[in-house]
């Protein structure tokens, strides 16, 4: 075969592959599911998206809390439920938790501004953290962004989506034609709440080394069973034992959400071929050291 021939056939092949991949994976799938919405246009789809925004208050499993700050290169093995299971761990009926309507939350126009207020009645989640996640419905392992604000057990906590998260939302995952991209806004309460017993879904291995510059290097050896092609990957929650502030890093090996966009403290990450996740965590030395006092590693 000469070059011209291969060039022509490869171009044809690609166009055929596009017809197959694009149709099956996105548009037609969306049309099959949302034909009615599509028939009246994107506007309706986006409205549908807005309607499918999920705000869930959950109280999930807690990480194992290591009470003593680990020495360098200490291995911490801990494991709450996967995120999807976390969402299933809905608070029992009657639990006095209320999400008040955000004043300026706009979904469907793909911008989230202002604040989401989660009023958590006293005594329910005292001491727990609040986590906001935005993610596509069909890819729960791939959060669009997350922001953690200190809760410290106070009721009536106001959780504010930061500008950076707005930017992530507005530029990363929008909804145009398919339900595939419907966004779910999940508010998880108590993800970092200690002393809740949960059965580990899978064991993992996490090591943290603080270098001379005060940068903690965290490596998570993800289990081979994680399908990174589907957007899977480990997540890490750092919890500062001093002020209870929390930073969350989630990423998959292939679908790369820069950690710096999730939490300012995370400055770099790489994912090697073995599926391991390596993250660097930057902060004051005492924070970095304390950050290792509660580390959660979970499957997507």
């Amino acid at each position: 075969m000469n070059f011209d021939e291969l060039e022509r056939t490869a171009a044809r092949h690609m166009r055929a592959q596009i017809d197959q991949a694009v149709s099956d994976d996105f548009a037609l799938a969306g049309e099959r599911r949302s034909i009615r919405s599509l028939s009246v246009g994107l506007a309706i789809v986006t409205l549908s998206v807005a309607m499918l925004v999920v705000v869930q208050l959950t109280r999930s499993g807690a990480p194992v809390v290591v009470t003593e700050p680990p020495a360098a290169d200490t291995t911490i093995a801990t494991d709450p439920s996967p995120a999807s299971d976390t969402l299933a761990a809905i608070l029992p009926d009657g639990t006095p938790i209320t999400i008040t309507a955000p004043r300026t939350l706009m979904l469907g126009s793909w911008e989230v501004r202002g604040s989401v207020a989660a009023r958590i009645d006293e005594g329910v989640n005292a001491g727990c953290g609040v986590r906001l996640e935005l993610r596509p419905n069909d890819r729960p392992g791939l959060p669009l962004g997350a922001v953690i604000e200190t809760f410290e057990g106070r009721p009536g906590v106001q959780v504010t989506l930061r500008d950076s998260l707005d930017q992530d939302l507005a530029t990363s995952f929008l909804v145009f034609t398919s339900e595939r991209w419907l966004m779910a806004l999940a508010i998880s309460v108590g993800d970092a709440c200690p002393a809740t017993e949960m059965t580990p879904q899978w064991a993992t291995h996490l090591s943290l080394v603080t270098d001379a510059a005060g940068i903690a290097h965290v490596q998570v050896d993800a289990p081979a069973s994680i399908d990174s092609r589907s957007g899977g990957g480990p997540s890490i929650v750092f919890r500062n034992a001093t002020d209870q502030s929390i930073a969350v890093a989630r990423r998959s090996c292939l679908v790369d959400q820069p950690l710096s966009e999730i939490a300012e403290s995370f400055i770099a990450s790489t994912c090697d071929d073995s599926g391991s996740l390596v993250a660097q965590f930057r902060g004051p030395r005492d924070f970095v050291e304390n950050a290792s006092t509660a580390v959660t590693v979970s499957s997507p």
Partner: protein, 202 residues
């Protein structure tokens, strides 16, 4: 516990409000405590409907991943949305969105190289047609993706969208002579690499 209550607010489209409310009645997932204020620019909607598939196809070609293509297309459209007052006034907003999508794809180049290695294993199952021949096509596109940014963009537009030199020039905002040169360089480099892999005649 979930709190019910969704509000639909569309500033431009009353029909959408009604549809929203109907959907609200149907949707279990809508039983949340969210007020969704929906802003719907109908002109932008049409733009997305008309061009999203072509854009995703183009990005699929340059990334080799439908997921990446979807992500990038979403991001490109998001940027268009945010700047729609100016983008919508362009003679060819579709060219703008392709250019943005391609630039986004290539800005992820370093990451994609890592991903490509892992993805290569899955290509055979995604391929179309005879498997033996498909390997060469797949390899061909792998080499296209390894070309320098501009060269790869030019060839992708040519192969996937069957664009002329003039069209590519307008889309990428570079001179037609430059497009010709890039195309020629890219094809020569491509041919050399494919020859070394033994896939084309010497």
């Amino acid at each position: 516990m979930r709190v019910y209550g969704v509000t639909c607010v569309a500033v431009e489209d009353a029909h959408s409000i009604r549809t929203c409310m109907r959907h609200h009645e149907r949707s279990d997932l809508a039983r949340t405590g969210v007020q969704a204020h929906v802003l719907v620019p109908s002109e932008f909607d049409r733009f997305v409907r008309e061009h999203q598939r072509a854009l995703r196809g183009l990005l699929y070609a340059v990334t080799g991943s439908s997921q990446d293509a979807d992500d990038l297309a979403q991001e490109a459209f998001a940027r268009a949305y945010k700047s729609w007052t100016s983008v919508g006034q362009l003679d060819r907003p579709d060219a703008w969105i392709r250019r943005v999508g391609l630039n986004l794809a290539y800005s992820r180049g370093r990451r994609l190289k890592v991903e490509l290695r892992a993805r290569a294993r899955s290509w055979s199952s995604d391929s179309v047609g005879d498997s033996t021949t498909s390997v060469e096509y797949i390899g061909f596109w792998e080499e296209v993706r390894r070309l320098p940014k501009r060269q790869g963009q030019v060839l992708a537009l040519r192969y996937v969208e069957d664009m002329s030199i003039r069209e590519i020039s307008a889309l990428l905002g570079i001179a037609e002579g430059t497009v010709k040169a890039l195309s020629s360089q890219a094809r020569a480099r491509l041919a050399d690499r494919l020859r070394r892999r033994g896939w084309i005649d010497s």
